[in-house]
């Protein structure tokens, strides 16, 4: 990935930025705050109406009871919107030091950092700099921040934004998201266009109790291809914070989309997301995710395979350390003939961390010839930690097949003995086994991200 052709950063990131806040919303949520967010963003009225309608739904919806305990989540204590002053784009020199330091801490090589900077990034709830390669421009590819998309591409946004993929009414948090969403990315790839360099964003969040509600909308027209990468790291805070993103991906006929994310929120963050794609005939959707950090995470990327021959691949790795609860998995609805899905989910638990695989595979009554395969592997590094597997399989046609394998295990002492017999210390041997465990997923990541994931896991292993 470091060898990818990237424009010099200086050319693409212009105009310096002063990231002092001019506006900081109060804690808690009410209609006035939502109106203020909307007017601050100078949004068209239809978006404000959508926000207010979502807010009504949010108030009525109960907090989900079936997963992790969310009772400590206090909506009155959360700041729902922050924006840096006059954000636009910036030069590499203007990339905040904290971000640069995080890159350093993650051991991201120099070339890689520049690459990461050639992107749409989110700083304090909003995209502060944007790089859209000219080549993509000329092909009609749109890659911009979501706020701009509302103004510049209202037709597309009206049609696809929280309508048929993730409507506000989907769940309590998608409703909240609809009311206060801010920032995120908009990607549109026209028919037949193959974007060969991954589109990347880098999200950060560093204000106490600031909710992050970025929205990602990706539309891949027939025969087109795109790889979208999103990663987050965050400094530590002491006050509970909420992150509730929505990702909507449309994979049209014969198109292909890959969505890669590594999330590493600080451990006091509630990370409650809704990510979903609709896949049409012969389309391919691939989800690759690494879930680090956060206090409580609920994340089940979903693929709705709507057209014949559509395919979904879900690869997920979750790390649950001290005080962490990872409730993650995948949902695939096979709603057409000859659709297929593969889910590989891995979890590592340590120091009392809890990880749960929660998965749903539903094969509809007309999905003849559908195939699904689910593989869950959990690795427990000590006796204090726990894992659970809740795989739900619903098969409404007998002319389909579903395979499920689950393995839960402690780290193998014989393996450690073998590695240690070559002089490797116990800690390093454990780290090696863990790296090997995540390798099938790490190898699907672009190099910088694989390095980052390995670094993050090593930091976690040291109990950082």
């Amino acid at each position: 990935m470091s060898t990818s052709p990237v424009e010099p950063v200086e050319n693409v990131l212009e105009q310096p930025v002063d990231s002092k806040y001019v506006f900081r919303s109060k804690k808690g949520l009410n209609e006035d705050i939502i109106k203020e967010i909307s007017s601050r963003k100078q949004e068209p009225s239809w978006m404000l109406e959508k926000r207010l309608a979502s807010y009504e739904i949010f108030k009525k919806k109960p907090i989900p009871k079936w997963g992790p305990d969310l009772s400590a989540l206090n909506f009155d204590e959360i700041i729902f919107y922050i924006r840096p002053e006059d954000y636009k784009s910036m030069k590499w020199e203007d990339v905040p030091d904290a971000i640069k330091k995080t890159y350093d801490a993650l051991g991201i090589p120099e070339a890689e950092k520049k690459y990461l900077a050639g992107l749409v990034a989110q700083y304090e709830s909003e995209a502060v700099y944007t790089n859209l390669k000219k080549a993509w421009d000329s092909k009609g590819v749109i890659f911009t921040d979501m706020d701009s998309a509302v103004k510049e591409h209202p037709g597309l946004v009206k049609e696809y934004f929280m309508t048929k993929c993730v409507p506000a009414a989907d769940n309590k948090f998608s409703a909240l998201h609809g009311a206060v969403w801010s920032g995120g990315s908009f990607v549109y790839v026209p028919k037949g266009v193959k974007v060969d360099i991954p589109l990347q964003t880098y999200f950060r969040m560093n204000t106490k109790s600031s909710g992050q509600f970025e929205h990602t909308l990706i539309i891949v027209e027939p025969g087109a291809e795109v790889h979208y990468i999103e990663g987050c790291t965050a400094p530590r805070y002491s006050i509970s914070s909420l992150h509730s993103a929505v990702v909507e991906i449309f994979v049209k006929e014969g198109a292909r989309a890959r969505y890669t994310t590594i999330q590493n929120w600080s451990t006091d963050v509630y990370n409650l997301n809704t990510k979903r794609s609709i896949v049409y005939e012969n389309g391919i959707m691939e989800w690759v995710g690494g879930s680090m950090g956060s206090g409580v995470t609920m994340l089940y990327p979903a693929s709705i395979l709507r057209g014949r021959g559509a395919r979904a691949e879900h690869l997920n790795i979750a790390f649950a350390g001290k005080g962490q609860y990872k409730d993650t998995g995948a949902k695939v609805i096979l709603a057409a003939p000859d659709t297929s899905a593969s889910i590989i989910s891995k979890s590592i638990s340590k120091d009392g961390g809890k990880s749960v695989y929660r998965g749903l595979v539903r094969i509809g009554s007309n999905a003849t010839g559908a195939k699904a395969h689910v593989e869950c592997q959990s690795l427990m590094l000590d006796d204090k930690s726990s894992v659970d597997t809740i795989p739900i399989i619903e098969q409404f046609t007998p002319q389909s097949s579903v395979g499920h394998e689950a393995t839960v295990g402690k780290i193998d002492e014989e393996q450690l003995f073998y590695l240690m017999s070559r002089g490797i210390s116990r800690d390093d041997a454990v780290a090696l086994v863990v790296r090997g465990f995540i390798e099938p997923i790490a190898k699907e990541l672009p190099m910088g991200y694989a390095v980052e994931l390995n670094r993050l896991i090593q930091l976690e292993m040291k109990g950082a």
Binding site: D412, M420, S421, R422, G423, S425, R426, A429, L432
Partner: protein
């Protein structure tokens, strides 16, 4: 001073007595063969020398360069130059042979090893051992044939250059050509790197390639007979019944 001195060793596993008063002395640059019927405790001895936590030393001692090692950790023993070629090498998924070897060399040298330089040196090494390069990218022992696993053990030994190695049935599962290659590899280490060896085997054949100065026969947790190379030849003809009867 002896390199390895095992004195009146008693070993239990899960409360079961396996080694029952074993004595064995190996001097620097000697090659010893250890033979004995199935279940006599040969692998138990090798695990105990390496320090497997399940194998409890209840009496006796193991001295290495004159110092007791029975309270040392597995990795410490390895870093002192002890190596065990496993009868059944473990598989570690997702960890490439190369990555693993670099980690091991880093552990031994207690410093970072440059990736590129290591890569080059390792490639030379496998070439010299007639091992295909693709070996290095494969996950450690995963999906390896029995013979490939054994060759991988020798590769590890050639990279780590121990002073003393126990090779537990390194010859089992090897085809005729592989046996020759592996033996040549071991002989080179004996010759050039002054490796001392305890070679556990059931078969005379490997001893034709790697000539031991001493042959020991282990029965029921004890060395019951020791001799020179001719003892192995005798065993090959007469089996273990003859020793047991004596």
């Amino acid at each position: 001073m002896s390199l390895l001195e095992i004195k009146n060793l008693h070993v239990e596993i899960e409360g079961k007595k396996i080694i029952k008063g074993l004595d064995l002395t190996i001097n620097p640059f000697e090659v010893h063969a250890l033979m004995g019927p199935n279940g006599s405790g040969k692998s138990t001895l090798s695990y105990t020398i390496m320090g497997h936590p399940k194998y409890k030393v209840t009496d006796g001692d193991i001295l290495y360069n004159g110092e007791s090692i029975i309270n040392l950790g597995v990795d410490e023993r390895a870093r002192k130059g002890i190596f065990l070629g496993f009868q059944y090498p473990m598989e570690v998924s997702g960890v490439s042979v190369e990555n693993f070897l670099r980690t091991a060399v880093e552990a031994k040298e207690q410093k970072d090893v440059p990736i590129l330089a290591f890569h080059k040196a390792l490639n030379k090494r496998v070439e010299a051992m007639s091992i295909p390069r693709s070996f290095l990218d494969r996950y450690l022992n995963e999906g390896f044939s029995g013979g490939e696993k054994k060759r991988n053990e020798i590769l590890q030994m050639a990279v780590l250059l121990p002073k003393f190695a126990v090779l537990d049935e390194i010859d089992s599962g090897l085809d005729i050509d592989a046996l020759r290659l592996v033996s040549e590899g071991i002989n080179k280490l004996i010759r050039e790197d002054r490796l001392s060896l305890l070679l556990i085997t059931h078969y005379q054949r490997i001893l034709d390639y790697i000539k031991p100065q001493f042959v020991h026969i282990m029965v029921d947790g004890k060395v019951v007979k020791s001799g020179g190379y001719e003892l192995a030849q005798q065993l090959d003809k007469m089996g273990y019944e003859w020793v047991k009867e004596e």
